[in-house]
Symmetry: C2
Subunit: 228 residues, 2 copies
């Protein structure tokens, strides 16, 4: 009977080892067979541009019973439709920090989110709000909160944080040339170690560029004016 106790322990131990090895082996096998289909941790995607031109109407009106009559290819997934999809997926917030913003589809996406009542904050370069086709005026007039970085140099970031957890960053400005002509990249991730620093930096730049704070004289300035 003593032998059977030892056997039982051996069986349980071997069973545990066999189970662990099986799980590891199956994991390895699945990753080898379908390397892209197995999701490993948080979202991680990379898109390159220029992208082929395709109709984006279904992203804005997914429930429409009428097919879009435009001559562009329909139901095609491109780097741009994926970017647009990520922006339109926002359900609680959109923080956007972008150097140049002239793209009409992305402007439409931002306005659609605003109509849905989603809080949006946009930080952009003061000088580049004046370029031809800039969408910043349209967005501001719609009532979306925009702050401009008016430093002597460029606010050259091109990133967005969707719902406080999904980061979209890269070389791509939100312009038609960048999307349809330039060689560009964007990286989309929900990896907290990468997203959190961008959230902190956005908040820092947002606070620094608060117009109220910019025009508020400091105590030192007030004292100096009294002395003068």
């Amino acid at each position: 009977m003593k032998m059977s106790v030892v056997q039982m322990v051996k069986i349980v131990g071997l069973g545990a080892v066999a189970l662990t090895l099986s799980v590891e082996w199956l994991d390895w096998l699945f990753c080898r067979l379908w390397p892209r289909k197995i999701s490993r941790g948080p979202l991680k995607e990379v898109y390159f541009f220029p992208t082929e031109v395709a109709c984006t109407e279904r992203l804005f009106t997914p429930d429409s019973p009428f097919p879009c009559p435009c001559p562009l290819p329909h139901n095609v997934n491109t780097s741009f439709t994926r970017l647009l999809g990520h922006i339109l997926s926002a359900s609680s917030s959109l923080d956007l920090c972008v150097f140049a913003f002239t793209n009409l589809d992305l402007s439409r996406a931002v306005l659609a989110l605003h109509t849905r009542g989603i809080p949006i904050r946009i930080l952009t370069d003061m000088e580049y709000t004046l370029i031809t086709g800039s969408q910043i005026g349209v967005i501001r007039r719609a009532g979306i909160c925009v702050r401009c970085d008016s430093g002597a140099v460029h606010m050259h970031h091109k990133f967005a944080v969707v719902d406080g957890r999904r980061l979209i960053t890269g070389s791509l400005n939100w312009t038609l040339t960048a999307i349809q002509s330039n060689k560009e990249n964007i990286l989309v991730t929900e990896e907290p170690d990468l997203v959190l620093p961008f959230i902190t930096e956005f908040q820092r730049l947002w606070d620094v560029n608060d117009p109220a704070r910019r025009h508020l004289p400091s105590i030192a300035e007030k004292t100096a004016s009294l002395v003068l």
Copy 2:
């Protein structure tokens, strides 16, 4: 005795559960206490610019017994010294895909790697090789392989792949203005799902911009010239 077998199984089972829970709990505790110190998977870092100006000499001559006499702060870690450190850490290859390259320290780093015999490939925008202070000429004259994207639009990428496994990407061009004045970001990662697409895209652009391929007439062109 039958009871003791059941007890033994129970003890082994409970032991396994307790061990698993302890490991999970300790992991949770360490992450709460030292969230930044615990490395979770592949390298993931984010740096923002502009960065404070600091001496970079120790990165180039770490074994020098003489302290650098320059007036800049020494032994200071900045976003730029970290970027430089990542570039200088290359031990087997450096693939660089950058729109504008005028920064002297980064140029020195690339030349230092070349002196060490590390294979370097640089892909850049044709138009931007002509800007004042461009380092592309210096690098090319040193014998480093450079290819220019001569498309009508911009090769606007700003990424590097170190040793085929470490990606450095973001909004930052390799210029002094970008590093010391602009608001910029870079993201450094060894996450394969993010690095591999950049490696593939680099190779694609490298092949597309092969000067030999560009000037090689196709069979159709040859036939046309024969007919004419």
